[in-house]
Symmetry: C2
């Protein structure tokens, strides 16, 4: 069999066998299948797709390029995790992981960094003084057993093939395949040793998937792939045209997460966390009521979990955040009801302040962020402070962010959607 | 502008601008557009096509990777050429070029070699003792002015980009785009300095295009591209399920070409040559009657043209052919009417004898060939010699070829088609 014959089959829309997919990946990793051949195959897949069988094998081959993580099985402490396709101000991971841990689950959460306008959980956590995202598998095992959760960067040998393929797809305009997107996301989750996974798939102007239909397609591919790969998986489609909570950026989101972990977070964020927590607990065969999760927020258990996790990951207690050198208050430009800000404007404001990165090798500013000061639905008078900008990148960053904050203001109340895909 | 944005446009089926196509080719030739990116773009083109504007620019960029050949314009001696997409036993070039020259046209024919089951005009000519296919542009100019035609290999800097792209397409299963096929063929013809071109596009079991529809699509793309690029172009769609003439191979085809140049060739081959000659003369604005072309075959002028061309290209006169070490006569397996043999079987027989090559770097055997000894429509008795096999590759080659010759025999008369596309 030759590589071009396999590309040929896929170009014609035929189903590839396990051994053909294995031939491609084995050859690509050993250098006998060229970058050009994989690029051509990826483009053929954009047009002709992979079915769940093909995708499961494809993903398994990618995972086999590195080492799988695993943790001792303990049915009374189910291994659970969450992945979001990226929302503006999406700090759900920072709240959900310690909350699930407080409720008797283990959450070995491998997370990522910001790219473009999408925030990164690891960048946010690094706003905490002393917090380290890099740990060896042995350290991760110890942290998980001591506090029931961690949020850390992928180890170098967690699906190294994904990094290589993603870089190739990026320069060859072959990102757009739902199958290949699902494979890229799920490969890391499957390899991370988790057994039950809830996906938060965003749709809307601020999201990777602009339409409900695109999010539905991606969600179904990921759910199918997870279940076929030994990870029980469900997905929640949630709308993403508005900011989640009232903050976007690094330190600002950690502050809001701490509020939410203490039961004092904004209603929309708390609601989203509780939805996902309930779904995940049920999926793992250990249902927990919404009231019980609220109790764990109110009684300090979730917050204690978070603090313990941070300490085990290097943070000094009490937790302190990196402080910005420049701040600015934004005043209401006119008297009006304040509603949840438009995601796109807020994302651009947070990016301008330094919370995002244009290229993977760029730095983000841990102190950067936008914090809105008013609860949605509140009537505010012209000149009232409505937002606080923070950055360590100077007045120009503040000026640019200010313009985007104004552009994010709207009179229209948010209509949030959360549909389950199982 | 970035390469992936251009690939993205084509992936979505949008039309690329001249500057975008220029950006791709400039970058590919300078190394800033990678093989992987061109492979992905080629695959996107397989699915989304290039229109004639895009294809004309694409082809022009490919040509600009090297040097164009050109000859002084002389309206009374039009520059004409023919290209065939490759038929079994297709020796039309060897007859047509000298015939057109004898009729007062100039034919600067750049031709190719055999690959797989497709015969190569250059390999056939090399069966003539002393004949050389490699000449400098200055030599080609002199030969053309002295005898009105040449048949030679491409110089190294005639569309070098085509070799590189073809090699890439070959390993990435992106040959199949009619636009890219048209571009690969026509780039070399456009760059060769010819002004009027007739294309012989084959369809059928022995042809590159298996169906009439595929041949029609390819013919239309090439005609459109030629006319848009300053080469007046027409195409003739001809059926290719049967052997053309009665020979396939190297020396055998030269012998049959000499017969045909002398007016004593098989009817189907002579007819095909005369059709193409008439079409080409009319296209070049200098019509020549069929009767006149027949006169030039019968009176020895075409044959003299061929001999002069061969001598100028290094052959010793009188022309002699390389002789095989092994021959075998094939006898009629039963009494029946003999009809034009099936192309596929003959192609395999000729290949077995050594007239083709599996890889571009392989050698062919100049002495290899099949010659049928009976005119189609003739009744032959069992045991009568019907074919002669020649090779210098021994008895095993003869054994294999013999089996294929039997497989090529049929009782069904050939129904030849020749449709003009202008």
């Amino acid at each position: 069999v030759q590589t071009q014959d396999i590309i040929h089959k896929k170009r014609l829309g035929e189903k590839l066998t396990d051994s053909e997919i294995g031939f491609i990946w084995d050859g690509y990793l050993r250098g006998t299948v060229s970058e050009a051949q994989l690029a051509a195959l990826a483009m053929a897949i954009v047009f002709q797709d992979l079915d769940t069988d093909e995708l499961t094998t494809w993903t398994s081959c990618m995972i086999d390029s590195g080492q799988r993580l695993s943790y001792a099985d303990n049915p009374s402490l189910p291994l659970v995790d969450k992945h979001s396709t990226g929302g503006v101000g999406d700090k759900v991971s920072l709240v959900l992981a310690p909350l699930m841990s407080a409720a008797g689950f283990r959450v070995p959460m491998i997370s990522g960094r910001s790219l473009g306008y999408t925030g990164g959980t690891l960048d946010k956590l690094e706003a905490i003084n002393g917090f380290s995202v890099s740990h060896t598998p042995a350290e991760l095992t110890r942290i998980l057993s001591e506090c029931g959760c961690f949020i850390a960067a992928a180890t170098d040998d967690l699906v190294p093939a994904d990094k290589r393929l993603y870089a190739l797809r990026d320069v060859t305009s072959t990102i757009a395949s739902p199958a290949l997107i699902a494979s890229s996301i799920m490969s890391k989750k499957i390899a991370s040793g988790v057994k039950h996974l809830v996906l938060d798939v965003k749709f809307g102007k601020g999201a990777f998937c602009e339409t409900y239909e695109a999010a539905l397609t991606l969600a179904r591919r990921m759910v199918g792939l997870g279940n076929a790969s030994g990870v029980r998986t469900i997905a929640c489609l949630t709308s993403m045209d508005r900011l989640i909570g009232l903050t976007a950026g690094n330190a600002a989101e950690v502050r809001e997460s701490l509020d939410t972990l203490g039961g004092e977070g904004p209603a929309d964020l708390t609601d989203l966390v509780l939805n996902l927590a309930e779904g995940l607990a049920e999926l793992a065969g250990k249902p927990v009521s919404r009231a019980e999760f609220i109790r764990l927020l109110k009684n300090g258990d979730a917050l204690t979990s978070f603090a313990t996790m941070c300490a085990l990951q290097g943070a000094s207690l009490p937790l302190t955040l990196k402080a910005p050198t420049d701040t600015r208050e934004i005043l209401a430009p006119r008297s009006a009801k304040f509603e949840a800000p438009l995601a796109e404007g807020v994302a651009r404001a947070a990016f301008a302040l330094g919370s995002g990165r244009s290229l993977p090798e760029d730095d983000t500013d841990p102190t950067a962020g936008v914090t809105f000061l008013v609860a949605p639905g509140t009537y505010v008078h012209e000149g009232t402070p409505i937002a606080l900008l923070e950055t360590s990148r100077g007045a120009n960053a503040l000026d640019e962010a200010e313009r985007y904050v104004y552009a994010s203001l709207t009179d229209v109340p948010a209509a949030r959607v959360a549909d389950w895909i199982r």
